[in-house]
Symmetry: C2
Subunit: 125 residues, 2 copies
DNA sequence: CTTGCCTCTGACATCCATGTGAGCTTTTAG
DNA sequence: CTAAAAGCTCACATGGATGTCAGAGGCAAG
């Protein structure tokens, strides 16, 4: 498929797909006229890349991690696997932090609602 | 306390503290000479602001939400409470997404390790 | 062939929290 | 009193993913 279709299938802009290629995250074969062509597998790859971006990884870090997806168990993915483990832990810590923040928001909202209820009660009483 | 102390207590740069004030997230009283002074409460406030930044809120959004922290139950915090509820849900969805990503990383790492173990076994056998 | 849409490269623009530096004043320590 | 450290304002820089525009070429349908 060409880049436009990959874009619409993944919900990622054409601009971003070219950027991913520039960053070494995504490969494409070129037609004689120079147009990029992709296989169906790239759809999954792009959504995974998006997932990693959403998890706070930078292009550089994603590039370090991806070899371990491409070539599982290869020697040259040793570093990738290690990096992935590190990022996994970072992500886990981040999740824990976000959960604490969500809890704080829940408490704040509960406090507000309680305050309001009390206010209404005192007005009614 | 002055801005430097607030900075070192919260781990937030002096620059950022001034920025927070500019964005209406943080107030300070000024000494005769114009220096900012803060109470101990601001420490907690700043760390909460940082927490919200980490949760992906922008300054503008944080500013919309904070009134509900300052004046619980006031009429003018109606919108703030609603906004907070929306952000809370957004955050919750984001957390769920990150958990899925973490799971994906765990699976990938497990697959890699299995692949390696298999490789070693076949070499040994 | 032509019209319209897609793609190409390259470059500049944007957002936003934060860094950084200049030039000047205030505070604090010796 | 003096020098170092800290504060002030203003303004420009940065990074990183993405938007956008320009100019040119590719390709399918009428």
């Amino acid at each position: 498929m060409r880049i436009g279709e990959l874009a619409s299938r993944t919900g990622v802009s054409v601009r971003s797909l070219r950027y991913y290629e520039e960053q070494g995250l995504l490969a494409s074969t070129r037609s004689a006229s120079g147009q990029r062509h992709y296989t169906d597998d790239e759809v999954e790859r792009v959504t995974f890349i998006q997932r990693l971006y959403a998890a706070g990884l930078s292009s550089r870090t994603i590039a370090e991690v991806l070899p371990c997806v491409d070539a599982p168990g290869e020697d040259n993915s040793d570093a990738a696997l290690e990096r992935m483990a590190r990022e996994r832990d970072r992500l886990s810590a981040h999740i824990a932090d976000l959960v604490r923040t969500r809890d704080a928001l829940d408490e704040l909202m509960a406090a507000n609602r309680a305050y309001r209820a009390e206010l209404r009660a005192s007005l009614a009483g």
